[in-house]
């Protein structure tokens, strides 16, 4: 039996005005377990707290009930008081007789009556309280960033800057991501490479950062502070540490006709290649599907020209086991496939391109060396039609488009239109839009400049059909404001394709037990207050994997994610919330219902041997809760039919005791 002390607070007249505090402390004196009961003007004051501490000593109290304001106000205060008095801080219960009693009831009789009942409920609960100690777990002081685009790069740099080692895992042969493929960036029009490549070099030179390029994460175990990750380093058939990136092999390789992924297949690359000049790591990679040496064992030219001797045709995929304290997901996005949008003739005409292809076409390092030409005949296009919202905000059929707004298209289309008119003033540029959305800093000014200074023709309405005819593209569209159907003979049609999360995100989310929305974007722990944390502790989100984002937004989110990681890695130990679920394995059926409803993946199962009453042993599957991961919501407790799963601090018996006390 507990020895409970009851402390009724007047809160000046806040409580004492509507509640007869004397009567309350008197009435609660006779409750089971109560050995001491008193009241005082301000329990939270130093004098009040001292009173509690003294009473604990004098009456050998094991539990404390404070009848006062909301626990959301002073629960922490009184827990500290209890701790200072040598009690476990979780042996304190608060009866909320201010916000939920004296302040909402006018009549002193009813107020007092209710205060007594609330006090009784708190006493009933504290009688069943048990000392709780928050679990502690060590923190591996190293972070993993999955994805080496601008989001991953920025996050890694920021974490390394704080002194913690970081690994970047990038599935492509080089880091840089989508930003490396861009030409200029809105709204300032500085060139993407000029601002990105110095950062890539910083990453390469930072001794806190390791880059695993051409690699992927294949398994994640563990929990916050203690992740164990398996990284698969794909064989690139070139020794990374020896290759100097001189490019001799690339030049000599006879298998030159392979679609160049970096230029979205608009030109070719050899079987051995370096994606682009500023690649990091600047190391060649052999495409095993294109290399005749790897396919047929004949050629070996690259090996002959490599003076460093870096070529290794026998290289195998390598698996590394690494430990991390925190994981940042920065898997980014891709434009969706245009295959299903036959109306725009994307698959029929080379001159219907996506905006990312347009980006490569205008990039000085692109397939046309920055000259804006028609991919079909290399001629200069005189009429260009940009179509916005291709596949965005399209909820009619999920296989075709995406229901959300892709957010970045309005601005890059304005950029494309403006740059085209700037470089080639003889070009007519149309932009068909549903809405123009420009809510960023200096964004609307930018769009207006495209219209007002550069004479881009913005037309409210959608393109319904594109038909290739001769060397022209017949564009049929509607102008909703003029209520006209337009027919434009275009030379080039550019589709602002919707963006979607990278395909690798879904399997990764499963490995991380991080949740995703129906569109495969990672969900944040709280849409407003925890935008860079995933609900899974220790997993953070950076960039477009969480939702469509432009570069400035991505970089700021990357920094935010980094600061959260740093905050975590700074700690030597993690102390959890002690009010976590725990499973009584003697009663557990191992049915997995609890794991199904756990939003944090905190529950795992193991086979355990049990001694049966008849002295035989039986192996049963039982649940165990990882207290470092559990957040204490209690969803599992209700789903457990045998009641094996219970929540510390809010146990079944405790809540039932409160119910009973109230209903007495």
């Amino acid at each position: 039996m507990q020895r409970v002390g009851v402390f009724v607070c007047w809160c000046g007249s806040n409580i004492a005005g509507t509640v007869d505090v004397e009567a309350v402390s008197e009435a609660l004196k006779n409750e089971p377990g109560v050995v001491f009961s008193t009241n005082y003007q301000y329990m939270c004051s130093q004098a009040g707290q001292d009173m509690i501490k003294e009473a604990v000593k004098e009456h050998n109290l094991t539990g404390i009930v404070v009848c006062s304001c909301s626990p959301r106000m002073h629960e922490a205060t009184f827990r500290k008081t209890a701790a200072a008095a040598g009690l476990n801080p979780y042996m304190v219960e608060i009866a909320n007789i201010r916000e939920q009693c004296s302040w909402v009831h006018k009549d002193i009789l009813t107020g007092t009556e209710k205060a007594i009942i609330l006090g009784k409920a708190a006493i009933a609960k504290v009688n069943l309280n048990a000392p709780l100690t928050p679990g502690e777990s060590p923190v591996t002081k190293r972070a993993l960033v999955i994805g080496g685009g601008i989001a991953g790069i920025q996050t890694a740099l920021d974490i390394a800057d704080a002194g913690f080692p970081v690994d970047i895992v990038e599935k492509k042969p080089t880091i840089g991501g989508k930003m490396a493929q861009l030409d200029k960036t809105f709204p300032t029009l500085d060139c993407a490479a000029c601002i990105l490549t110095p950062k890539m070099v910083d990453v390469a030179q930072n001794d806190k950062i390791r880059i695993f390029s051409y690699s992927e994460v294949t398994d994640v175990q563990g929990f916050v502070g203690n992740f164990e990750v398996t990284i698969k380093k794909n064989a690139r058939f070139v020794k990374e540490d020896i290759c100097t990136g001189c490019g001799a092999c690339v030049e000599k390789c006879p298998m030159k006709k392979n679609p160049n992924e970096f230029n979205l297949g608009m030109d070719n690359r050899p079987a051995i290649y370096i994606p682009f000049a500023q690649a990091v790591p600047k190391v060649a990679t052999i495409d095993p599907n294109a290399c005749t040496m790897l396919k047929k064992g004949k050629c070996g030219l690259c090996s002959k020209v490599c003076t460093a001797g870096a070529i290794d045709y026998t290289q195998k995929d390598e698996y590394l086991q690494e430990k991390y304290g925190a994981i940042v997901v920065a898997t980014g996005f891709n434009p969706i496939s245009m295959d299903k949008f036959d109306e725009f003739a994307y698959s029929q005409s080379k001159d219907v391109i996506t905006s990312l292809e347009f980006e490569r076409l205008t990039n000085a390092a692109g397939p046309s060396a920055g000259k804006l030409i028609r991919p079909s005949d290399g001629k200069h296009p005189h009429t260009i039609v940009f179509v916005q919202c291709v596949g965005s905000r399209c909820d009619a059929c999920a296989q075709k488009g995406k229901e959300y707004c892709s957010k970045i298209c309005c601005m890059y289309t304005a950029k494309h239109a403006m740059l085209t008119r700037d470089k080639y003033p003889d070009t007519e540029v149309y932009v068909f839009y549903i809405d123009v959305r420009t809510p960023g800093k200096n964004f609307d000014e930018f769009y207006r400049r495209a219209v007002e200074e550069y004479g881009v023709k913005y037309i409210k309405g959608m393109v319904g059909k594109v038909t290739p005819e001769g060397d022209k593209l017949k564009v049929q569209a509607s102008d909703l404001i003029a209520n006209k159907q337009l027919h434009i003979d275009a030379d080039l049609v550019v589709l602002a394709a919707a963006i979607e999360p990278d395909k690798s995100a879904r399997p990764l989310a499963t490995m991380l037990t991080a949740s995703m929305d129906t569109n495969d974007f990672f969900t944040e722990a709280h849409p407003k207050l925890k935008p860079v944390e995933s609900p899974t502790a220790g997993v953070f989100l950076s960039g477009a994997c969480q939702g469509p984002k432009d570069i400035p937004e991505t970089v700021s989110q990357a920094g935010a994610a980094a600061s959260k990681v740093i905050g975590l890695l700074c700690k030597d130990k993690l102390t959890g919330n002690p009010c976590v679920a725990n499973s009584n394995e003697l009663m557990c059926n191992g049915c997995s219902a609890c794991a199904n409803v756990c939003p944090y993946g905190a529950i795992s199962y193991e086979d355990k041997e049990f001694r049966m009453p008849d002295r035989t042993t039986k192996v049963r599957r039982v649940a165990s809760v990882n207290p470092a991961v559990c957040q204490g919501c209690g969803a599992c407790t209700v789903t457990c039919p045998s009641g094996a799963m219970d929540l510390k601090g809010f146990a079944n018996l405790q809540i039932m005791a409160e119910v009973d006390a109230i209903c007495k």
Binding site: E113, P599, C633, A635, V638
Partner: protein, 144 residues
């Protein structure tokens, strides 16, 4: 005040993050509601076991209300979605057993909705008062 005026006994389960805070806000704003409502704090509405609800009725509660964050706003992301399914099933069953359906309720009250909390409680108490005592689930032998 009449001496014999019937006063119902209402048990309200409130989630710590939204509805309990909403109840606190009702207090801060001095929004009155009947003292018949007694609040039990739970971390999340999904902590409320149907057994607690039946227990309350068995012990003589006249109405049970469960308050949680609005769907989509759960502190634990999905808890109230489970509450919604569990309580829909339970309430439908109680109704099937002939228990007055007005005695049970689930309301979503955010931390900013002090006024909604008070209004909800006023309304619920009024509804339950009109129904009178819970005779169908109460177990007299549980009463002292």
């Amino acid at each position: 005040m009449q001496v014999n005026e019937y006063k119902p006994l209402i048990v309200a389960f409130c989630c710590n993050w939204c509805s309990y805070a909403g109840a606190d806000l009702a207090g801060n704003n001095r929004l009155n509601y009947p003292a018949d409502v007694k609040i039990i704090r739970v971390p999340c509405s999904c902590r409320v076991n149907p057994m607690f609800v039946l227990r309350a009725f068995q012990r003589g509660a006249d109405g049970v209300i469960i308050c949680g964050c609005h769907p989509g706003d759960c502190h634990y992301t999905s808890g109230n979605y489970y509450t919604r399914r569990r309580m829909a099933a339970l309430f439908s069953m109680l109704d099937y057993l002939g228990i007055e359906k007005e005695r049970t309720r689930v309301e979503w009250v955010s931390a900013a909705e002090g006024a909604k909390f008070a209004a909800t409680m006023n309304d619920f108490v009024e509804t339950v008062t009109a129904l009178g005592e819970n005779k169908r689930l109460e177990d007299l032998r549980c009463k002292k």
